[in-house]
């Protein structure tokens, strides 16, 4: 039963979807504050390379070095996003150009590759990696075993994070303020909310989560380092935020769905089913679906109802209020 295609795909989707989930939750927070950050891919790669470096360098037990690695990845991710925050919030540069610049600066042919090369990271596999937390007996349980009990700490932490972000956005005062900043910065400013402060804080948190997402690759999914190890997941995470209508709980569904799609072709191949021309569609489906969702979202009647931040992508200039 645990070998049935559906169970395997769901379990794999959760595994592959976890970095997407972290990165998209971070991007969701930044976008809710009105900052579009196209640098997710770059921030993820920075988190991936520095997290991996930490695990290789720190002489400590498995738990300590992994915790340190995730912390370093988050810090570096946040530091990388600080560049974007400064460019677009303080200097009011174009969010699109600045985000792309961040991906070029930090991305596959940029600083992450530079650091990976300088620290000679590509030679050895990771010293410590994340493993499944529950005993193998639990993992063999029918259906719930692979789907619920076969994962590592990062997966369970991401479930907690979804709940936290959801509570934050819908049940707390700062969360409400955040939505005000993203929808009507002038009104928020008049209420006495520090617009720039909120935007900085959430862009940085977004960067930190992207860093953790990158570390998920190098410490759990594919515990080694090579250039461009994230392979474009950052862009899927950006798409995912729209796909999920800027809601954390839908981010989880979308991330696992996109994750399962990634595994679909290899899994079918392993079972002797060759997709042929269909492989193009399983690869392109996340992107095509995002476009379709975006078209639905952009019809003005649905826009408010679905919760797209109205001020997304626009700088807030107090003097022009």
């Amino acid at each position: 039963m645990n070998n049935s295609l559906l169970v395997v795909l769901i379990a794999a989707g959760i595994g592959y979807g976890t970095p997407l989930l972290y990165a998209s939750l971070g991007e969701l927070l930044a976008e809710r504050s009105g900052v579009l950050n196209l640098g997710v891919e770059g921030m993820m790669l920075m988190g991936a390379v520095t997290g991996f470096w930490t695990v290789q360098t720190v002489h400590a037990g498995t738990a300590v070095s992994l915790a340190a690695a995730v912390a370093v990845a988050a810090l570096v991710g946040a530091a990388t996003s600080l560049i974007h925050a400064f460019m677009v919030i303080t200097l009011r540069a174009s969010q699109i150009v600045s985000g792309l610049a961040l991906t070029i600066f930090a991305g596959a042919a940029g600083l992450s590759s530079y650091l990976g090369n300088d620290f000679n990271l590509s030679e050895n596999p990771a010293k410590h990696t994340f493993h499944a937390v529950f005993p193998s007996g639990w993992q063999d349980l029918p259906i719930v075993g692979p789907i619920v009990f076969s994962h590592n700490v990062l997966v369970y932490a991401s479930w907690l994070l979804v709940v936290v972000v959801w509570l934050y956005l819908t049940r707390t005062r700062p969360g409400l303020n955040l939505r005000a900043v993203g929808d009507a910065p002038a009104a928020a400013d008049a209420m006495g909310i520090n617009v720039a402060g909120y935007r900085y804080a959430h862009t940085l948190v977004g960067g930190a989560l992207a860093g953790v997402a990158g570390a998920t690759f190098t410490l759990a999914i594919n515990p080694q380092w090579f250039d461009n190890i994230t392979g474009g997941s950052g862009w899927i995470a950006i798409a995912l935020v729209i796909f999920a209508f800027w809601r954390p709980e839908l981010c989880l569904v979308g991330a696992y769905f996109f994750g399962a799609l990634q595994d679909l072709a290899p899994e079918l191949q392993a079972r002797g089913i060759h997709l042929g021309p269909t492989v193009f569609w399983t690869n392109a489906l996340p992107y095509v679906m995002t476009i379709v969702v975006l078209v639905v979202v952009s019809a003005s009647s649905t826009r408010r109802w679905l919760g797209a931040p109205a001020a997304l992508g626009t700088p807030y200039v107090r003097e022009e209020r």
């Binding site: 196209l38 610049a101 070029i104 862009w235 950006i238 995002t290 476009i291 078209v295 019809a299």
Partner: protein, 362 residues
């Protein structure tokens, strides 16, 4: 101001080099030599700069109207697909070379334009944000490109011969479809590809279009104030479609030039054309040129030189990824310095009574 930004960028990148234990000056020296001075370097720089000029012009054409077409990458792939199809088909049936080459140019343009019209159409008629749609289509185009060669026996794929049975490859275009080059006899001979000439021509035409015609004026008004343009009775939708088609056509031309000028086949290798990120770098080029088509050319040459140097120096003793770092820092400093040009920074001492509310960063 751009010079100040460049100086700052090289200083900042030097800091990165120094902090990681490299000799900044000698690294720069080798970069500069490999880009412009070494034997054959100028020709290689033109190979890197030509596609960047096309994608840079594509971005400049759209961004000037605040249409953020970041799909240059995908439009370039599609242009390469349609351009090579025209080359294979017409060249194979024995047409005159000039005719075949003209056909590849037109086909590349049309392919790129058609791909760009998808986000253009969605923007014009469904008010869908073109940033994300054009970005998503890059990946769709990339998968299409890979699929055509690796997952199916398409028209573009080489199916005869020993090599083709070992590893999937593309058909090479017939010699009548290969674009000509003009060799200049300086510095040991520099080959000017036809694509470079077309890029110069396109830049001049685009400049005339945007500064000397009614079309360009209306596009500028639409970019600055869509509402004013509507009141003046300008046709917003038609203009969006036209500008997206021009932008995509230019990127597609870059794709056709990849096939006709340089690769002579449809390059689907994940580490080949797709790894160069011409489309994304084109946006960097356009932003550095401040979306001025004529300025795109020298900037493309500069960034092309940087990329060429990065490719040829890549190895054990040269820091990999330095090119991206330098490119990113140049762009950030250009963006930052632009703000300093637009606003005057005044340092004032805040009086105590006013300091009480939370200060806004401006």
């Amino acid at each position: 101001m751009p010079a100040a930004a460049l100086v700052f960028a090289f200083f900042a990148s030097g800091l990165v080099l120094w902090a990681t234990g490299h000799d900044a000056l000698s690294s720069y020296r080798r970069l500069f030599d490999a880009a412009f001075l070494n034997k054959g370097a100028l020709g290689d720089t033109l190979v890197s700069a030509t596609p960047l000029a096309f994608t840079g012009l594509a971005a400049a054409a759209a961004f000037r109207m605040r249409l953020f077409n970041i799909g240059g990458e995908g439009q370039l792939y599609i242009g390469a697909i349609t351009g090579s199809a025209a080359g294979l088909y017409l060249g194979g049936s024995g047409g005159a070379s000039a005719f075949v080459i003209a056909a590849t140019v037109v086909a590349g343009c049309a392919g790129g334009a058609a791909w760009a019209l998808i986000p253009g159409f969605l923007r014009a008629f469904c008010r869908t944000n073109e940033i994300i749609t054009s970005l998503m289509l890059n990946y769709v185009a990339g998968y299409l490109l890979t699929y055509l060669i690796f997952n199916t026996e398409s028209y573009w794929r080489q199916t005869n011969g020993f090599n083709a049975s070992v590893f999937p490859t593309s058909k090479t275009i017939p010699s009548s479809a290969v674009w000509p080059t003009e060799t200049i006899h300086v510095h040991g001979g520099v080959a000017l590809p036809l694509g470079a000439g077309l890029a110069v021509l396109a830049a001049v035409l685009l400049w005339v279009l945007y500064t000397r015609t009614r079309f360009g004026f209306e596009a500028a008004v639409l970019g600055d104030s869509p509402r004013a343009a509507r009141y003046a009775g300008m046709r917003t939708r038609r203009k969006i479609l036209a500008v997206m088609a021009i932008s995509g056509g230019l990127a597609g031309l870059g794709g056709a030039s990849q096939v006709g000028d340089f690769r002579h086949q449809l390059d689907a290798d994940p580490n080949g054309m797709q790894r160069q990120f011409y489309g994304y770098s084109g946006i960097v080029v356009a932003a550095l040129a401040r979306y001025n088509p004529l300025a795109v050319l020298p900037v493309a040459f500069l960034i092309g030189g940087l990329q060429n140097a990065g490719n040829s120096l890549q190895g054990a003793d040269f820091p990999s990824g330095l090119v991206g770092v330098v490119e990113g820092i140049i762009l950030f400093s250009a963006l930052g310095f632009e703000m300093f040009a637009r606003y005057r920074i005044r340092v004032t001492r805040r009086r105590r009574a006013q300091a009480a509310p939370a200060p806004e960063a401006t």
